[in-house]
């Protein structure tokens, strides 16, 4: 289906909005960079340049040299901002602790998120980074950028910020690293009115939703992740910009169970594409794989000789639920027991494809904090159709929001609230009956405690008899 924007889309033309000339943008040479020393001694940082990988230190030094060469008035925050940044980083390596303070009252008018205040705690030694605020920019679905937009944003950020970018932060946003408080409002005005973009989410907000590449490029996508991500971003603008949740809340959209944006591991609601009919099998192509006519995994591992493809060893025996077999030379799948691990489809993409009755599974409660407490999400809705305008899905989301805003404690993620009150309560809120698919491991570890009224015919239990056999 063709993309239908909610509002007119602006065509960005870099030549009309550019701030720097080609000469200004290409002002540094390899030779100059080789001999360039910033104003601080940074031996430990420079050590990081010696590894086999591209180094952020080398990139930062290039940025520092570039800013030194710009004429007066061509940057609006201190031109030595990157040099002080590296200087403070070196000191942090020496001290083994950070010198950043974060948080504060920076932001743009009316927005509760998108800007994260950051300050140096060594402002006299490193005055150029006394303020070094971070700005999150809402990325387009699947990060499909127009180069005119990116060049325009890079110019704007060089002019009003440090010029340093993070493409992309782990939340998904494009992150602008480091500017001063006075530049936040003008930066935002130009981002909104010239570049036609918006801030992302931070704080106790809905965070910027993110999605995999979806149907734009991937044959496995079971729904249009880009369309759904865009719809949810636009529909929940108030939740994205005006914080009233107990803590952060993340949506992520994976088109298939391969989970390229890892929604299952890090989003409060994971939307994962799936199908409820059978895996499509092309038996001729299966025979082609067995005969060695097609490279397994679409040739992804052909850099090394793994020997002849063995369908039994490499596919059937690796099925986690053992639901595949070869019968009379034909591949047979017991679809009811498929847990959507995707291994067989990934290995033989020419022979196997997801079914055609597609939709999504909704999982709840993942979090991936930096220090401790990582938690995977829990499958609660095994299948729901995912078609515009997604009213059926919004209904579920809004039940979750309403309940969590009521029940969640301050700084408690959805997964922690569910863990505290128990999954059965959460199922009651969503009006979803407990199902065999809600198991921790396939078919072996159900964690629902049934109530008597939930079970046909009920059951009777004598707690005193039970305690005779099981001490407290």
């Amino acid at each position: 289906m063709a993309f239908e924007p909610k509002r007119p889309q602006k065509k960005i033309n870099y030549e009309e909005i550019r701030l720097y000339s080609d000469a200004e943008l290409n002002s540094t040479t390899e030779e100059e960079l080789k001999n360039f020393k910033i104003k601080h001694d940074i031996p430990m940082c420079e050590d990081l340049e010696k590894g086999p990988w591209p180094s952020f230190v080398a990139d930062a030094k290039q940025g520092a040299l570039h800013r030194r060469k710009l004429a007066d008035g061509r940057v609006l925050i201190p031109r030595d901002v990157i040099e002080d940044l590296l200087g403070q980083l070196e000191l942090s390596f020496v001290h083994g602790e950070t010198h950043w303070k974060h948080g504060g009252i920076v932001g743009v008018f009316g927005y509760g998120g998108g800007v994260i205040g950051r300050y140096s705690d060594l402002q006299e030694e490193y005055p150029a980074i006394a303020h070094f605020h971070t700005v999150r920019v809402n990325q387009p679905a699947s990060k499909f950028y127009d180069t005119d937009f990116l060049k325009g944003l890079a110019d704007l950020w060089e002019y009003r910020g440090s010029g340093l970018l993070n493409l992309h932060g782990s939340t998904g946003d494009l992150v602008l690293l480091g500017t001063i408080t006075d530049q936040l409002e003008p930066l935002f005005q130009e981002m909104a009115h010239v570049l036609d973009t918006d801030l992302g989410g931070s704080g106790s907000n809905l965070r910027t939703p993110s999605c995999c590449i979806g149907k734009a490029r991937c044959e496995y996508a079971c729904y249009d992740t880009q369309a759904m991500c865009y719809e949810m971003t636009m529909h929940y603008q108030d939740e994205l910009h005006r914080p009233a949740f107990p803590y952060k809340f993340k949506f992520k959209f994976d088109g298939c169970p391969n989970g390229c944006v890892a929604s299952i591991a890090r989003s409060d609601i994971a939307f994962i594409g799936t199908w409820r009919d059978d895996i499509r099998i092309d038996q001729n192509a299966v025979q082609g794989y067995i005969a060695g006519e097609y490279a397994p995994n679409a040739g992804a591992h052909k850099g090394r000789d793994w020997g002849k493809f063995d369908i039994q060893k490499e596919v059937i025996d690796l099925c986690p639920t053992g639901c595949m077999s070869l019968e009379g030379g034909k591949l047979v799948i017991d679809n009811a027991n498929c847990t959507r691990c995707m291994h067989c489809i990934n290995t033989m993409p020419r022979a196997l494809r997801p079914g055609t009755d597609t939709g999504i599974s909704m999982l709840f409660g993942a979090k991936a904090p930096i220090l401790e407490g990582a938690q995977m999400s829990t499958l609660v809705i095994p299948f729901i159709k995912a078609e515009p305008p997604y009213d059926n899905i919004k209904e579920v989301i809004e039940k979750v929001f309403e309940w969590w805003m009521e029940e969640g404690k301050n700084r408690e993620r959805l997964g922690e609230t569910v863990q505290r009150v128990g999954l059965p309560k959460f199922l009651e809120i969503l009006e979803v009956p407990a199902a065999p698919q809600m198991v921790k491991e396939p078919r072996s570890n159900p964690y629902i405690f049934w109530k008597e009224e939930d079970v046909p015919g009920g059951f009777q239990r004598d707690i005193n008899e039970f305690r005779k056999r099981h001490k407290r």
Partner: protein, 77 residues
């Protein structure tokens, strides 16, 4: 709306040492005073107070709090 705004301001002015509050704390206080108040209405009242400059957001990056403009930590710290 005006009643909600007054309840919010009254609660925020009442803090002896604290100057920044989680939304849930505001919500709880307002619901104690006006039991029929709905969460969404309280959020809208908070947003209106932000837009008229009475309240400010305070964000650590991971969480957000509300405070009265001019009380406690102000523009820089």
């Amino acid at each position: 709306m005006e009643e909600l705004k007054s309840a919010i301001i009254e609660f925020l002015e009442g803090g002896k040492t604290k100057t920044k509050f989680y939304f849930k704390d505001i919500e709880k206080a307002v619901k104690q005073k006006i039991p029929e108040a709905k969460t969404l209405q309280i959020k809208k009242a908070c947003s209106a107070l932000i837009n008229d400059g009475t309240l400010i957001y305070f964000s650590t990056g991971s969480t957000t709090m509300y405070g009265l403009k001019g009380r406690g930590i102000t523009e820089d710290h």
